[in-house]
Symmetry: D2
Subunit: 149 residues, 4 copies
Amino acid sequence: MKENNWLVLEKKIKFGDCDSAGVIHFHNLLRWAHESWEESMEIYGINLKEIFPSMKYDTKKIFPIINCEANFLYPIEICDNLKIKILPKKINNHIFAVNTTFCKDKIVVAKAKLMHCVLDIINRKKVDLPESLELWIEASNINNKIESC
Amino acid sequence: MKENNWLVLEKKIKFGDCDSAGVIHFHNLLRWAHESWEESMEIYGINLKEIFPSMKYDTKKIFPIINCEANFLYPIEICDNLKIKILPKKINNHIFAVNTTFCKDKIVVAKAKLMHCVLDIINRKKVDLPESLELWIEASNINNKIESC
Amino acid sequence: MKENNWLVLEKKIKFGDCDSAGVIHFHNLLRWAHESWEESMEIYGINLKEIFPSMKYDTKKIFPIINCEANFLYPIEICDNLKIKILPKKINNHIFAVNTTFCKDKIVVAKAKLMHCVLDIINRKKVDLPESLELWIEASNINNKIESC
Amino acid sequence: MKENNWLVLEKKIKFGDCDSAGVIHFHNLLRWAHESWEESMEIYGINLKEIFPSMKYDTKKIFPIINCEANFLYPIEICDNLKIKILPKKINNHIFAVNTTFCKDKIVVAKAKLMHCVLDIINRKKVDLPESLELWIEASNINNKIESC
């Protein structure tokens, strides 16, 4: 089932990700955390066009971030190959968190956490998580018990 | 009329704009060119919420970029204070260009050009420039004749 | 002393800051928090070229972020004018935090916190805060007691 | 030799790449052009740590961009899978260009061109292309004759 694994991704650090201190400019890590969330859902089988708003598709819910956090444990530098491990958690019916752990050669170099709420796209009231997201979270938590960084 | 001048703006280079070669990472210049266009229109008196699409406002036209170009003449470094001079040109009824010149201590260090077309937001067909943009372009060209970097 | 105030800054939201959900893409807030820190130090009188590494200046210390966090309380949209209030805190001899509060029409719409450590640029060992940063933190804490959003 | 192909890469459009008009925010294309250049060199076998400056490695040359250009032919939207084709050209002993073509379902949707010069990292005078880059350009031009989008 290796090819279907939606919880361990990879990322290569690019020149433009780093600043003149020679390490990644910090907020890029949060961008990668979001992109990893997207990638994970897609590998799992969710059609992202049904998740994210665009002018063409009639999405009903949006997932704004209400809190995000990142910890930087070791320097991340150009050309580093990071392994990204994802673990989502349902907090309640309309809030979920996505935890991401960034590893370099088996060492955890950074962690990020994005907390999303689920809102109706029109009236911006809290609504329940869509079923596809519920399933992705459940499957991730079952699958995650047997994986390691 | 100095305070109302919508054609000469300022920009201070930040740490995160630069890469490990110690100069701005090139594509940021194009971001500033776009932001300068926005700022110029707003100082001139255009309500940007009527120009750019959002979920709340009922905009009718969009302005996708069909071509962009930038020239880098001298290094741009952290803490540099740039003066940005703007000169738009109407190309035809549905295409216009925004030229930006970036100066440091009276020396031109970079130039950028963004070429936009005007499309109907629904059917994506070419439509005429909105009147507010036409007026901004005309006024800019008259005003620009008496300004220098 | 209004003109010299280094603790209350302003930021206008641009088109490119927002995503297709019509609000700012979340990690931009952390970029602005960092840029606000830079701007605040500069207004206070610190020469940023002595703070941030470049190829031309012989800086001795770097200030990598070890933790960052952001809370989003209300939507931030294109053309919003934000007032940014800054409050730094010294944690110990080699760690400090910069708190930023983003207000729209007197309402707090978001908060960010960047925690930096101070390292020797060569051997990457922990070192004391530079004197200029110590003074900026002290002055900010005295000044902040008489300000409000 | 499919696995070793350094001239045709892939890119998936993310939510954060797009703006509220529902298409990619234009300057991201130039970021991808640069990242594709990096990725291509690396797949070919160049050690990027010898190419890009950092605090740890003793690079001798830098490759600032002197001109960049992009053309947008068709909308690029979230979840689009782009195929990126690269073709570098040596202009003279110290200038080279990297052309990138972005295809969606065999249709060219955008093109970018980055023109780099080669400078000594210390005195910033023009110097010759490093041998590794010369070889990558040569091999790319030979290889490219038998490839198509």
